[in-house]
């Protein structure tokens, strides 16, 4: 794990789970697999806190455990999974676009809690939806269950590995840790539940009003009087499936940019048809016949079979394309997307001329310096300057081809080339660094203005409570004036900056996704 990745993981863990969990998590990422006592000793935290932190991390699928011989249990962190936490909003938004609010809330609950039983999810989501509905209306459990089942059918939600049924626990002592197993077939098997009920609305007396003593509120009694029918069957969000969806989206929009709307629709249909049949790591989709595609086109598109055939040939013949007679060569698609990202980064950082040189070298694979100047039609001095700038940033690399065995510099060819994989890795590393910087800056900005933020929150709370109890306009005005005009300005600026930084994080994450997918796909092929 690179330093940049570790730093980013540390920031993400801290934001989501607090400092103790962050300390334990980062320690595990750095040192690899370790048993409980060693963790406590090395980090200097008390055993209780380490235990709690590990429970939280395991619940969220960020740490796994393994039983070694002699009963020692070792814990290992999954750094990649920690980095996914950056992408949570995107997953939730995707669920919303596909399955509307119900789906959105289901995925949100699953991501926030790591893993949950189906009944727990359904109950919580129904309650939350009921809150937002008008008075008197409630959300039925059945509707939420239906959406849940649909999510499972399309593989967006999957089962967690199970504890194997204990055969006979009297022979020998129970193992120090259960070994969790999952059968491929069972992953999407929904238990037969009859969840009957409606969402409950929270009583208004229970609502938090700041300033009121909360410590005296009685703990909510767990109404688990009846045994939960699906006890022990936990579900989690299937992030790979979401990634597949993002990848398809990227391909479709790329095709739409290059050609027109209709061809992108055709591509979308092709991809959707092979969604569930293509395993996640496959380099290309299943081949489809044009008849199948024709039948599966969405209803609104009245194009004849011949027009469809024309489009397909067009897609296949395009030299830059990644279609070969009715199946989509996914690896090449990712490669193109990654390359496009690299090109645009070069363009934005170094200018359009540099981008021209970059594209040239990409196309011709290997070029000598003189050739670069000739082909790009850029004066020698500028060309050299740009090449060296790109070289120093590792977008371009140098390949030596010696003429003589002694590698004398005056008798060696130096060829410029673009190694996409290493350039992609370099760019990915930079992305991680930028996101870490963005988060730090955002935290810094918030900390600087902490006093002001707290003041404005207090004022808002006071206004809210006064409005609830029916106050006069003049009184409200008075309270609002507690925040002076320059302070208001400061708050505005802060809000704008924080929003901007957040938006940057989200968009850098999109680039991270493309590059990661490409690198993963390339590594699989080797």
């Amino acid at each position: 794990m690179t330093q940049a990745e570790i730093k980013l993981c540390s920031l993400l863990l801290q934001e989501h789970f607090g400092e103790i969990v962050e300390k334990i998590g980062v320690h595990l990422i750095r040192t690899g697999s370790q048993p409980l006592r060693v963790i406590a000793h090395d980090t200097g935290t008390s055993l209780d806190q380490v235990k709690k932190a590990l429970c939280v991390l395991i619940q969220h699928n960020l740490v796994i455990y393994q039983v070694h011989k002699r009963g020692v249990v070792e814990y290992e962190a999954q750094c990649n999974r920690v980095l996914r936490m950056l992408r949570y909003p995107r997953y939730i938004y995707t669920a919303k676009t596909l399955y509307s609010d119900t789906g959105e809330l289901i995925v949100e609950e699953l991501l926030l809690n790591g893993k949950m039983t189906m009944s727990a999810v359904v109950k919580k989501v129904a309650d939350r939806l009921t809150e937002t509905m008008e008075d008197g209306k409630t959300m039925d459990y059945a509707e939420v269950s239906n959406t849940f089942v649909r999510l499972v059918d399309t593989h967006f939600v999957q089962r967690c590995p199970l504890v194997p049924a204990t055969e006979n626990s009297d022979t020998g002592p129970p193992p120090p840790a259960p070994t969790l197993v999952i059968n491929e077939k069972d992953m999407y098997l929904v238990p037969k539940l009859s969840l009957i009920g409606k969402g409950k609305r929270r009583r208004s007396s229970d609502e938090d009003a700041t300033g009121e003593p909360k410590a005296k509120r009685p703990k909510q009694s767990t109404d688990n009087k009846e045994p939960i029918p699906d006890d022990g069957i936990y579900w989690q969000a299937n992030l790979d499936r979401f990634h597949q969806h993002f990848r398809d989206q990227a391909i479709v929009s790329a095709v739409a940019n290059r050609m027109d709307q209709t061809s992108s629709e055709i591509v979308r249909t092709m991809l959707r048809m092979s969604e569930v049949t293509t395993p996640s790591g496959a380099p290309f989709t299943q081949p489809l016949s044009s008849n199948e595609i024709f039948r599966s086109l969405p209803v609104g598109y009245n194009i004849s079979k011949q027009v469809l055939d024309q489009y397909l040939t067009l897609l296949a013949d395009d030299p830059v394309s990644f279609f070969f007679s009715f199946f989509c060569y996914l690896h090449k698609a990712l490669g193109s997307l990654a390359t496009a990202t690299l090109e645009s980064v070069v363009q934005e950082r170094f200018g359009s001329r540099c981008a021209r040189i970059f594209r040239l070298v990409l196309q011709k694979k290997h070029l000598e310096q003189k050739q670069v100047e000739d082909f790009a039609m850029i004066p020698a001095k500028e060309a050299k300057d740009m090449l060296y700038k790109m070289l120093s940033e590792n977008f371009i690399s140098l390949q030596e081809i010696p003429k003589t065995p002694d590698h004398a510099p005056s008798r060696t060819f130096y060829l410029y080339t673009v190694n996409i994989l290493s350039a992609a890795r370099m760019l990915l590393h930079r992305c991680y660094k930028s996101v870490a910087n963005l988060i730090e800056r955002r935290q810094f900005e918030t900390k600087e203005n902490k006093r002001l933020l707290e003041k404005s929150q207090r004022v808002e709370a006071i206004i809210a409570s006064m409005q609830a109890t029916g106050a006069e306009e003049a009184q409200l005005q008075e309270i609002e004036e507690m925040i002076t005009a320059p302070e208001r300005q400061q708050l505005e600026t802060l809000k704008r900056n924080v929003n901007k930084l957040d938006a940057c994080e989200i968009q850098v994450d999109e680039t991270i996704f493309l590059l990661e997918s490409y690198i993963e796909s390339t590594m699989k092929r080797q």
Partner: protein
């Protein structure tokens, strides 16, 4: 071979023209310090994408950030004891749901050790033998050690029965005992130093009880 330093004259081993400097040109200065922290960029960055979906995702992100702070998974750092205990702090504690993990899915060693039994035992033993409030700490320690040995005896029998893990496990078990005992010793000493007439077992129920009794006390002193 070609490129010998000919008689004190500097000659480069490669064709200098290829790099871009003609003969006799002044070479650029050697850079002696690290590059600046915020270098000027020639090109401004591309503006961010804006749109409805981007706004929604942004709102989601910010909401998520707030929500995770209130979840039971967010483990608060225990604050150090402040010199003056603020009255208001007791009433500003945020209400958080307790989360109990499914212990069937986790290794057994992650379960918090049940210290309450031992604590109650040793406390009761002390109360029984507590005449003057400031008993000798040495006596207390002795009592605790006796109890520890009793407890250890029971536990070590259990451990000998377990076949797997043999030595390592029992070592772990012993270490745990010592940790617990050490922590309890400190705890008990603190209790002893609190000079009050209240028997400690009264306030085992938790903060609520304590708070109520304080209020009553204030009113009762006429």
């Amino acid at each position: 071979m070609a490129g010998n330093k000919g008689r004190g004259r500097a000659a480069y081993t490669f064709n200098i023209e290829a790099v871009g400097f003609s003969r006799g040109d002044k070479l650029p200065d050697v850079v002696l310090k690290p590059p600046p922290l915020f270098p000027d960029t020639d090109y401004k960055p591309v503006p961010l994408k804006t749109g409805e979906s981007e706004d929604y995702v942004l709102a989601l992100k910010q909401e998520l950030r707030e929500t995770v702070k209130r979840m039971p998974y967010f483990v608060e750092t225990p604050e150090e004891k402040q010199d003056i205990e603020r009255y208001s702090k007791r009433y500003m504690k945020v209400y958080k749901e307790e989360w109990i993990p499914d212990w069937r899915r986790l290794p057994r060693e992650l379960m918090p050790r049940k210290k309450c039994k031992k604590g109650a035992k040793s406390k009761k033993a002390e109360d029984a033998g507590k005449g003057p409030s400031l008993t000798n700490p040495v006596d207390v320690l002795k009592k605790i050690e006796e109890l520890e040995k009793k407890g250890e005896g029971e536990k070590s029998d259990e451990e000998n029965e377990e076949k797997e893990g043999g030595k390592e496990k029992s070592k772990e078990g012993d270490d745990d005992e010592e940790d617990d005992a050490a922590e309890q010793e400190e705890y008990d000493e603190e209790e002893q130093e609190e000079e009050n007439d209240y028997i400690n077992s009264y306030f085992e129920d938790g903060d609520d009880f304590g708070a109520d009794s304080d209020d009553n006390m204030d009113e009762a002193t006429y």
